[in-house]
């Protein structure tokens, strides 16, 4: 094949376009997964000799109540995030895309939670939740709602919701700017036509804005689902998954198994399980929300 033919061969061209991405992925993304799968068949502390266990780690995983409850927490986080982040982000995006004064100031400050590191955010929220000095209990006491004061991070029944709150807070801005961009992309004529038909603001939102944003909402949902299923940072910083695993997620559990307890074999088992769960859920979600991901 001469050069010209080669450059007309679409397989070759596709390969050229994909090559750089494939190299990075192969080295850093693809290798670790089979490796983790391999480790999951061993008893291994990460340092010493490896002892072949067969499927023991997997059997243990299936009967490990902490793994199941952490997976349940992950799904709870998915549900909470979808229900809270998307509507609030949409609402803010709609407000900010109206012609109002100071919009760019609001946009800047609204984006701050996304810019701060999880360490900073965890610091702030730890003091918000402090039962004695915290801002939340302080405000509740001030307005005469003493009975609602809580040990927000110490009570196993509510700790999960307490740590889920800053996660919502942090990621709303991301979806807000995504929705804002999508909204300003909607052709003005559609709104004009609706106005002529006598539609009010709510009707315009439900019959023009929302349908036009469908694809954007679906993709944002995928990002939320994947992000929530492998979430780690803020929960690790705030509670480490405790007390007594009440706020444990799959990723925090895999970290403490692998690095705190030095049970790399079992930690790898959890990470493969996490990978499979996240993959299945997102593929199923995409199947149901779009007939064809390509078109």
């Amino acid at each position: 094949m001469n050069k010209k033919e080669l450059m007309n061969n679409k397989y070759f061209i596709a390969a050229l376009f994909l090559l750089p991405a494939l190299i990075f992925s192969l080295v850093y993304l693809i290798i670790p997964i089979p490796l983790s799968a391999y480790y999951s068949f061993f008893e291994w502390d990460g340092i010493g000799a490896m002892e072949f266990l067969g499927l023991d780690n997997w059997a243990e995983l299936l009967s490990d109540p902490i793994f199941w409850s952490s997976m349940a927490n992950n799904f709870k986080l998915v549900a909470i995030s979808l229900v809270i982040q998307i509507p609030i982000a949409l609402f803010l995006a709609v407000l900010l895309t109206r012609k109002i004064k100071g919009a760019s100031f609001f946009k800047t400050i609204f984006f701050v939670p996304m810019l701060l590191s999880s360490i900073a955010v965890a610091f702030l929220w730890r003091y918000m939740y402090d039962p004695t000095f915290g801002l939340i209990n302080g405000v509740l006491n001030l307005v005469g709602l003493e009975h609602l004061t809580q040990s927000w991070l110490g009570n196993p029944d509510i700790v999960f919701y307490s740590v889920a709150a800053p996660i919502q807070w942090r990621f709303i801005p991301l979806y807000m700017i995504i929705f804002m961009a999508a909204i300003s992309n909607i052709p003005e004529q559609l709104y004009e036509a609706a106005e002529i038909d006598g539609a009010n603001n709510w009707q315009m939102f439900f019959f023009v804005t929302l349908p036009m944003l469908r694809a954007t909402v679906v993709n944002a949902s995928v990002l939320i689902i994947v992000g929530s299923l492998k979430y780690f940072a803020m929960i690790f910083a705030l509670t480490g998954g405790g007390p007594n695993h009440a706020s444990e997620l799959m990723a925090t559990y895999l970290y403490s198994k692998s690095f705190t307890e030095m049970n790399m074999g079992y930690g790898s088992t959890i990470s493969v399980a996490l990978f499979l769960v996240a993959l299945i859920v997102s593929v199923v979600f995409l199947r149901f929300s779009k007939k064809d991901v390509r078109n």
């Binding site: 679409k10 061209i13 376009f17 994909l18 750089p20 991405a21 494939l22 990075f24 992925s25 080295v27 850093y28 993304l29 290798i31 670790p32 407000l95 109206r98 109002i100 760019s104 946009k107 400050i109 609204f110 984006f111 701050v112 996304m114 810019l115 701060l116 590191s117 999880s118 360490i119 610091f123 702030l124 000095f133 302080g138 807070w169 700017i177 995504i178 804002m180 961009a181 909204i183 300003s184 992309n185 954007t216 993709n219 994947v226 492998k230 780690f232 895999l254 692998s258 690095f259 790399m264 790898s268 996490l274 990978f275 996240a278 993959l279 997102s282 593929v283 991901v293 390509r294 078109n295």
Partner: protein, 274 residues
């Protein structure tokens, strides 16, 4: 009148949200002016009684600016590579029919599901064998790889949305694929690229696990690692840590304000679409 009330309600909502999102900055700033003694004695919500710049001086003297420069180098190079590499891949997935498009797309999607901590040891070994250990460049590989899936996800959706007619004329004229990519597609996806850039930049700026294991010498340290300097085995200098946190987020905020108009405008033309 109705319009006025409407406006008022809107501003009310916006102001509430302003407090909720803006307060952390106030919190960081007000506590960065306190000394340790005062921090522990008075509520963290109170204003500093004795204004001090001591924390800022100490943070600056701790080698913070080196970490700062390192962070900038690593993050900006990584983001530049991410943009090029993911744009190329997205174009192939979206426009060149090579039969495995869907499979490749799913593979990239799968890349989003990989938990970072299960890759630490494999990536550490790979980095060692490539001789990149304890170099800033060691971070670029994992940074790029972990940002690729989501970037490809965003860009593919966007390129799918571009009307094919724009390229048709060029193809008939016999333009090469690279030409089409460079002259037609790239200018059109600029908006989506800004989304990808700001998203990855904020995530990578706060990334921390890879730098912890892949670099060692203090001269190669990045900002997020430097933040832990003020934590000892049994104690922490909290005002100093908060000062460092504030100084580390400041450049991102400035950059965001600076780029904001451009980014939003950019994204106006190209939202995250499927």
């Amino acid at each position: 009148m109705v319009n006025r009330i409407k406006k008022l309600v809107i501003y009310l909502f916006l102001s509430i949200w302003l407090v909720i999102t803006g307060y952390p900055l106030v919190f960081l700033v007000q506590n960065s002016f306190k000394v340790r003694l005062e921090f522990f004695r008075n509520p963290v919500w109170s204003l500093p009684a004795n204004f001090t710049l001591q924390n800022y001086i100490e943070v600056m003297e701790s080698g913070f600016y080196i970490y700062f420069i390192n962070s900038i180098i690593v993050c900006f190079i990584s983001v530049a590579i991410i943009i090029i590499v993911s744009a190329l891949a997205s174009y192939a997935i979206s426009r060149i029919d090579f039969k495995f498009n869907k499979l490749v797309y799913i593979l990239f999607l799968a890349g989003m599901m990989i938990p970072i901590h299960s890759t630490l040891i494999p990536i550490y070994k790979i980095t060692l064998s490539m001789g990149l250990y304890d170099r800033l460049s060691a971070l670029i590989g994992p940074y790029v790889a972990f940002s690729l899936p989501i970037s490809v996800f965003i860009l593919t959706g966007f390129i799918n949305d571009i009307p094919y007619e724009l390229e048709e004329a060029a193809i008939i004229d016999g333009a090469s694929r690279f030409r089409i990519f460079k002259d037609i597609i790239l200018p059109l996806v600029k908006p989506a690229i800004s989304t990808v850039a700001i998203y990855n930049l904020t995530l990578l700026w706060n990334q921390f696990a890879y730098a912890l294991v892949l670099t060692s010498s203090p001269g190669k340290r990045i900002l997020t690692l430097g933040l832990f300097e003020f934590q000892g085995q049994h104690g922490i200098n909290i005002p100093l840590t908060l000062t460092a946190l504030f100084l580390s987020v400041l450049p991102l905020i400035v950059l965001y304000v600076f780029l904001q108009e451009h980014i939003i405008k950019g994204m106006t033309a190209g939202a995250l679409k499927g």
